[in-house]
């Protein structure tokens, strides 16, 4: 099997240093909505200047390079075990090259391993075998600030009068945005999962963040809800960094997974504005990135 360590290292560098075009476009559009001279507008202008600078200098967009979360879709013939080793080698080398901050800390002692290699869950790698002959590796770098404000609700929620329907989903997601205030580095992006058990719902909410900001949900009802939640979240007035303003959420992506009759979870993965998400594709001898 081919050794992709250097190609995966490039994926990590690219993800950490170059914000995806769809995310940058959303940020540029949001600047125009904030009043000239406001703290909100100043924050967004600073953010965009930083984005240009890190792409030029190949340095991390944010010092919290987060949990590296890999989603690997491999055709028959590839070994997940060997791919995991290559991912680990690439992550350690990326840390040494300062594309990543050493972030893997023993839960109890607090000791930092120094190379971003912890146990089998750090870095996180999700594998699935797929048809066809293209290997894809997607990477999200998700920082601690936005991970800490991500959350899960079990419906019905009496405090929010949220029932087991899309109206209930809308209520709890807006509550999550309010709870987060500016702490998740607003303006943020929401990955929302409805259903599942607690664990699958958390994973699915992160998978929803693999979608492009400007795509449309094929389910018309969910597409409408995504748009409504984004619009209403922006009415909350939390704004960039929580300074107040019109740009609080720049995109909502909703997915659903099968659930037990007894359970109705809604999980909100809050992603900061530094929405670092990139993809690498391997077909025959060709490796490409987007």
């Amino acid at each position: 099997m081919r050794d992709l360590t250097q190609e995966i290292l490039e994926l990590v560098r690219f993800t950490s240093t170059s914000l995806p075009p769809d995310v940058e476009k959303a940020l540029r559009q949001s600047v125009e909505k904030e009043d000239p001279g406001s703290a909100a507008r100043g924050a967004l202008e600073t953010i965009l200047a930083n984005v240009e600078m890190t792409r030029r200098n190949s340095t991390p967009i944010c010092q919290d390079t987060g949990t590296p979360i890999f989603f690997v879709s491999y055709p028959e013939g590839w070994s997940p075990r060997q791919l995991r080793r290559q991912i680990q080698a690439a992550v350690a080398e990326a840390t040494q090259k300062t594309y990543l901050r050493p972030n893997a800390v023993d839960a109890l002692s607090g000791k930092n391993t120094g190379n971003n290699l912890g146990d089998q869950h750090f870095p996180t790698v999700h594998f699935q075998e797929v048809d066809g002959n293209e290997l894809t590796i997607e990477l999200i770098l998700k920082g601690g600030g936005c991970e800490n404000v991500s959350t899960q609700y079990s419906l019905p929620d009496t405090r929010l009068k949220a029932g087991r329907d899309l109206e209930g989903v809308r209520k709890v997601v807006l509550d999550a945005v309010h709870q987060a205030q500016g702490e998740g580095c607003a303006p943020g992006f929401l990955g929302v999962s409805i259903g599942g058990d607690r664990g699958t719902s958390y994973v699915a909410s992160k998978e929803a963040l693999l979608r492009k900001v400007d795509d449309t949900n094929p389910d018309a009802e969910l597409a409408a809800l995504e748009q409504r939640i984004t619009e209403e979240a922006n009415q909350l007035g939390i704004g960039p960094m929580g300074f107040g303003g019109r740009s609080t959420v720049l995109g909502t992506k909703i997915t659903s997974t099968y659930r037990l009759p007894a359970s109705f979870f809604v999980t909100v993965a809050y992603m900061c504005w530094a929405y670092r998400r990139r993809k690498m594709m391997v077909r025959d001898d060709q490796v490409s990135y987007e």
Binding site: I47, T98, L100, K111, A162, H178, Q181
Partner: protein, 206 residues
Amino acid sequence: MPKNLTIPISDNAIRNLRVGDSVLLSGVMVTGRDAVHKWMADTFIKKTRQPSGDDLQVYQALRPVLDGGAIYHCGPVVAGLDTRQYRFVAAGPTTSIREEPYQGDVMHHFNLKAVIGKGGMGTRTLQACQEVPGVYLHAIGGAAALIAGAVQQVLGVYKLEFGVPEAIWVIKVADFPAVVTMDAQGNSLHEVVRQESKRILERLIA
């Protein structure tokens, strides 16, 4: 126009700051986040643990830097770890609210005038801002490269055994950009935004 602030910061300069003011901070400050605040509180303020190793030396070295000074909630990406020719590559703020249980006491103990981070802090820190007096300065979260550009020199590091993000980095900064979001008069932008957004939320989910 941003206001220039030089460390050490005088009480007078602090009292002249208001929520919403942009500032450019210059001088020597230290980074400190979760492990550092807990270490300061446990070892020197509440004294629930005995100093060990180089604790007392680090404490004596930090006191003059923090007196009238600033602490920055930041876990940087640092180059030059092998050669000890340290350079900040990325150095944006981390979420401050995690230090809420300690911050007010740390401000009082060290006569700390400025706390820099993101996301704002709670009532205990706001009260300490009025008493010390001090301010909370909000840096732009994620603007890591731009802020690293304001770090002219890494003067040294303490407690590197806490790990790179959690260590105490002593840095010389020039024109470090931030916004006052909690002032010495008891105003907090975060409290205002929280209350106002709560009112709107209640209407939206009614």
